[in-house]
């Protein structure tokens, strides 16, 4: 009912419509123990968007993101990448996880090189790409360091560099900065925003922070819990280039309180489902 705000485009109308990068139709997820993680979901992610999936824990936002990555299969419904059922051929995708998930036995450069190594790309080609990715996240001087020698924020940057090294079209981020302190988090949020604005990149960002969602996104999908569902789907107003000043602006605060109201209504109105 509350998912009425989603753009509901039938599949066959794609001729006069830009094929969405990710299209989700009637997706449900029920675990073998009967838990209904996601309830009938329809949504589109269009190329060039930076979208946040916002919601409380247990609303299935991480599950949905894993479906975008083809790491999890829906119990019903379908996911399409550029209109195809196969992610491999259709888009270059990279993912950043809740933790940095670096290989502790390899130094930062080797960690960042991993996706290229797995594709058997020779070192002479991969080395400049690795250096560029490290430079993009400000870690060019730490290529030989081991993960344990870096702070949590720097480890997350390395993880981001590893995602960028393949020059992906689609970047999926699963609450990547949840474990970091406020300052580091703000810095990384603006870095993500900047990276997105500089490249032809589509970002889907899972978070439970309203502020992070509003600051980062061009669009926020609000999800409710038990069962996981889309509560609202909003465009975010704000300048294209955002800085710290945006965080204290009227329009920022207004949208934050609106989202927080939506979240509260969602958890209040559906407890007796």
């Amino acid at each position: 009912m509350n998912s009425a705000l989603t753009i509901d485009t039938p599949i066959h109308e794609s001729s006069n419509f830009i094929t969405p990068m990710i299209m989700v139709r009637g997706v449900e997820k029920t675990y073998p123990n009967g838990t209904n993680a996601l309830q009938r979901l329809d949504l589109n992610i269009v190329r060039g968007e930076i979208v946040s999936l916002l919601g409380p824990s247990g609303c299935g936002k991480s599950t949905l993101l894993k479906m975008f990555a083809d790491l999890e299969q829906p119990s019903a419904g379908l996911v399409r990448w550029n209109g195809k059922a196969e992610i491999q051929s259709q888009c270059k995708m990279a993912m950043v996880f809740q933790e940095a998930t670096l290989m502790p036995w390899a130094n930062i450069a080797e960690n960042v090189r991993l996706p290229l190594d797995l594709q058997h790309i020779s070192k002479s080609i991969s080395t400049p790409k690795v250096m560029a990715a490290l430079k993009a996240v400000g870690l060019e001087n730490f290529s030989r360091a081991y993960p344990r020698e870096l702070s949590g924020g720097m480890q997350m940057r390395a993880s981001l560099a590893r995602a960028l090294v393949t020059e992906p079209d689609l970047l999926l981020m699963d609450e990547p900065f949840g474990a970091l302190d406020e300052f580091t988090r703000h810095k990384l949020d603006s870095d993500i925003r900047q990276l997105w604005s500089e490249r032809d990149l589509t970002v889907v960002f899972v978070t439970h922070s309203i502020y992070e969602a509003v600051y980062l996104s061009s669009r926020v999908i609000v999800m409710g819990a038990r069962p996981g569902r889309v509560v609202a789907d909003l465009e975010i107003e704000g300048p294209y280039v955002r800085d710290e000043a945006f965080r204290s602006s009227e329009v920022f605060i207004q949208q934050c309180s609106h989202l927080s109201q939506l979240l509260a209504e969602a958890s209040g109105g559906h407890t007796h489902d």
Partner: protein
Amino acid sequence: MIKPLIQHPTVKRIAAPLGLGLIFLLVWQLSFQQLEVPVYVVPKPSDIVMAMIKESGVLFGSLLITLKITLLAFVCAVVIGTLIAFVFVQSRVVEACFMPYAILFQVTPIVAIAPLVIIWIQNTTLALVVCAMLVAVFPILTNTTLGLRSVNKGLLNLFQINKASRWQILMRLRVPNALPYFFGGLRISSGLALIGAVVSEFVAGAGGTGAGLAYQILQAGFQLDLPLMFAALFLITCTGLGLFALMSLLSHFFLSKWHESEQV
């Protein structure tokens, strides 16, 4: 001096326990000399040193034999244990089928199996190696299996997203991840190989040219030659310590750059 010498880390770690050992030996030597305890009851350190010098040829030969059996058994245990672990990781069903039997071997005392093995295998050296290997293989098997399995879920997802093959996941994720577990297994297993070798030597009671240190202890016991018993015992302990140190060194060499266990 602002800081007493005893507070220095190297002194604390090496000199302090060494000093304690020397004091112990000194007290042992002097008190047993004063009390005139007969050598066939408890020998003094000096008696043991004398025995070691007098019988050095025999003892050294026996040491080499025990060492040979231990090392052969250890190498076999490492190779076989690791190979089985790799098979186990490929499929849960295989592991479920075979693990109970591996445990069966582990829980049956080697002293009880050794007589059978010695009857079945004519070659004494080979029989002893098999016995010692049976004792040593288990920690390597379980530790390596655990290490190969317990990979970070996120890293595994990352490999899957990048379309890594089964082989790439094994070599680039599972194997490096298993190294700390594997070296932990090596440390335990090296000691067990020595224990297995000595115990099965006791059971075999093999003398002649193939006599290991256990045989020397057995033989010296019959003759109430306690200094010789102590000397042989000392050599066995040294072998065990040497193996342990070697394994720690190896572990340090491979893990010091990244693993928590090797951080000071």
